[in-house]
Symmetry: C3
Subunit: 399 residues, 3 copies
Amino acid sequence: MDKIRKLLEKFPQIGDMMYGKDFLLTWSKQLKEIKAVSDTARILKEFHANNISARIFETGLAISVFRDKSTRTRYSFASACDLLGLQVNDLEESKSQIAHGETVRETANMLSYLTEVIGIRDDLYPGLGDQYQREVIKALDYGYDNGILPQRPCVINLQSDLDHPTQILADLSMLTDHFGGLDKLKGKRMAVTWAYSPSYGKPMSVPQGLIALLTRLGMKINLAYPPGYELADEIEETAKRNAEDSGGEFNIYGSMKKAFEQADIVYPKSWAPMSILQERKELFSSGDEKGLLKLEKTCLEQNAQYKNWECNQKMMKLTRNGNALYQHCLPADITGVNCRAGEVSKEMFDRYMKETYLQAGYKPFVIAAMILLAKVKNPQKALGKLVNLSAKRDYFRII
Amino acid sequence: MDKIRKLLEKFPQIGDMMYGKDFLLTWSKQLKEIKAVSDTARILKEFHANNISARIFETGLAISVFRDKSTRTRYSFASACDLLGLQVNDLEESKSQIAHGETVRETANMLSYLTEVIGIRDDLYPGLGDQYQREVIKALDYGYDNGILPQRPCVINLQSDLDHPTQILADLSMLTDHFGGLDKLKGKRMAVTWAYSPSYGKPMSVPQGLIALLTRLGMKINLAYPPGYELADEIEETAKRNAEDSGGEFNIYGSMKKAFEQADIVYPKSWAPMSILQERKELFSSGDEKGLLKLEKTCLEQNAQYKNWECNQKMMKLTRNGNALYQHCLPADITGVNCRAGEVSKEMFDRYMKETYLQAGYKPFVIAAMILLAKVKNPQKALGKLVNLSAKRDYFRII
Amino acid sequence: MDKIRKLLEKFPQIGDMMYGKDFLLTWSKQLKEIKAVSDTARILKEFHANNISARIFETGLAISVFRDKSTRTRYSFASACDLLGLQVNDLEESKSQIAHGETVRETANMLSYLTEVIGIRDDLYPGLGDQYQREVIKALDYGYDNGILPQRPCVINLQSDLDHPTQILADLSMLTDHFGGLDKLKGKRMAVTWAYSPSYGKPMSVPQGLIALLTRLGMKINLAYPPGYELADEIEETAKRNAEDSGGEFNIYGSMKKAFEQADIVYPKSWAPMSILQERKELFSSGDEKGLLKLEKTCLEQNAQYKNWECNQKMMKLTRNGNALYQHCLPADITGVNCRAGEVSKEMFDRYMKETYLQAGYKPFVIAAMILLAKVKNPQKALGKLVNLSAKRDYFRII
């Protein structure tokens, strides 16, 4: 409880700047807003540990739209909503329903009359996911401004082609706890590197989200990938500028080894080359199934040239004291476990299993924090009230 | 809040006549029951706008059975249940499970031990949807009468082959608001007309529901369709009789133009000919896939003869002051948007977009009203108590 | 209410021995634990009848994993969770995701951060279902012991290859009510017999669960099956030993007739031969689709030799006063209703329809009881508190 009070005392002075706002990209948010999400997530985690109810809604709906498979983000969104008192309704859309902007506008309004939050995952095609989320937002604005919707649901990005903010903020929460505070991250070196995987088409949103946010905190980011696996130009440039502003570093290397040297944290993870993702988008749009299969083969062959980009004992020895923190958004492709050769050796994954599981455990609270901050005008006061009420989440835990 | 108090003061004197009752067809209900649903829906809408909780259940289940695709009715049912404190469980049945009457009885009982309401959409085949809903009701009566079920869930028709009462009452709510009161509808002329659509097999429940209900309110209904697209005989006759009793009108025309003349409201909407629906039922029953494809072709060719049945600027000019209210149950087939030629021109749909979205927004509250009236013996008193309690739905909206 | 108070006064002295525990097999539980589940289920049923809220959670998640089709157990689990205040999230897994132990560990942890209970049905393959549930439990222990999970979800077996405890305890509740008390069951004779069915691959968990539990209560069990349909050796042996200890009987016959003689209860139900289930497991593992089809044919032919194993009027005449109680876990294969020849004649099924439906009606309360006992340290005190509070489940039932 002391931990909660301390966090509340130093709560970032954001006023009502997050009230009624969507959360699409960390780089559209001020650092104090990022900090508010992080702190609120920690407070809600403490609430849960101390059996304090975080319910802020008596009734209310949440809508989730998953345009890509998801087990853990789906669960995290469901548990976040439940924690706040919302019931989740999952929209199962066929791809054809969403062909026209008008239809997005209609669907978005039809599903929002009594809805408080809409979570969207749309990460498969570059240039489409973020755009779709913005179309939904525009539709909601139309509905709210015209008196169609009695309240404006907020949109939470559950992974787009550009960013994966609920993941990145869970990663940040883990780092904060691991190093003893957000202010302790300044100067820490982190290797964000491509890693080999026998699968194709993984989105770039995680590495992009990492380099765009962590460079703002004064961290030293070593990005590494093989030729052809560049991240989006404008995001690499943003990261560079951020590092200059914050007194951090942003380096790009062509080798995993180089990136790992003296790193405090490593985040080795596979992603598809932008050229492949672009081509896939076009083949998908034209319904070219044969072309898609051929593309997959091409991509896997391209990946296969870089099988040595694996996080293993030898690589880890290059990090600070051979003892960097290993992070992954999970699930990982683990050599000898779920694939012949993958992103990480079994030995290394097992060594850090506890840490990666803890890392994932922040996500429900990060999502709940994003919703709460969009729904409550004065979060510091509201959270304080919840503490004072101390209503029990599990009524009989004491008995 | 004044609006709520006024509505409560003049609440229809229905006693407990809706308590424990199902809602299948508007024409099985007295006008004061229809008014009670409409008023309760308005009160619940005001509750929502004023952040008053309408939760009448601490826990409880709702079951939904969708035997046809649905996005917006599914959402409306879910949000209505959530508003009242019920959790929705969607039954995903395979068509084969329901082949025998006995099995319907069993399934209905198995899913009802702790269930307060069952919402059913079964609108694909004439003569089957309403019949299935009655079978479920018979099964529930058996269970309740024999002490198997501790309470009798009420059944709400979420669209059958005959009627679509949650839609029609949402339409009525929109009309009531638009014209300033239910009593203002007397004498208003409404064109309920067939419209061209490049799809096949749309149910007749909406036009049937409209003509059967609105003729009871003294409205002047102009029904229009091409040859072969007649609605069910008995419903057209009911509408005729209603109009005579209420001092309204019920005209049938063979032309959209004629129906639009001097109309205050237009509701142009496609539906399939009864003969096609009947044949489809038989082909479906005998599993004749080839026959179904052939039938679809036939139906589309038949539709295509009437492409000029489109609601557009030229047609609208025929209405009272060229300014009738356009209604549609959505989604509409919009020319140039989601089809080459459809029920309505883009220009006309855009002009009335706000109105059609508002119209759809009544549905969650209409469904919630139907459930509440079936579950509460004295709705006037119960709603009054909720007002006096003024428990918040969103606890921190004030902060 | 008197009934509740009496049950609470005589509540089994289990202390906190069920707190935090999973429920996989009745034979891992002491008889007083079985009695505690049964009594708690009866109390929760009375709560429901008397409109007393049994909500013990303000918010919280439940996860269900159905690796076999389920309508009624799915519903029972959902309604049990809702009754206690939990929201259900259904995991839809593809079979491939669970190929490695590591992946089960990861999935189990990822879905448990805020989860109170996990219900699992995995009954298709001998030797796999119970094993999978234990893998999940091991994973949860890992997560809880390492501080990854803030609480340890309890696992409830919703049917494994070995036992089906929620069904068996619903059956027991029915017997208890039918005969006027658990103590009245001692000495009662029950025929647990195989019956003919034109389907293949039904699990053995129900007959195994019945003979393993009911022999502990001093009942006289007549198990009967055709050659080749033996239950698992160790479970038949357990039943034999139980009967010796409890002063009951455990007989195995090769004829339905013999088993029915002087029976007070009959439970005729089809199941697949172990040899077929084993072979199916191997064919499934090797992905041999052709082999699976051939196996199905073999199994159906084998079944067809025993079409006379049908529960009908003639068979029932053999029971005590021709008037035994007929039980079935439903759905039954009813001759002339959903198959040409099945487990039971239509005449006999109709005669006992009410009883079988009542039997099924205990399941939601049995599951709720299992969850409550795993989540509350002192259930007697907690249930007493709920009685004293007498919070209403349906707020306006009085109005």
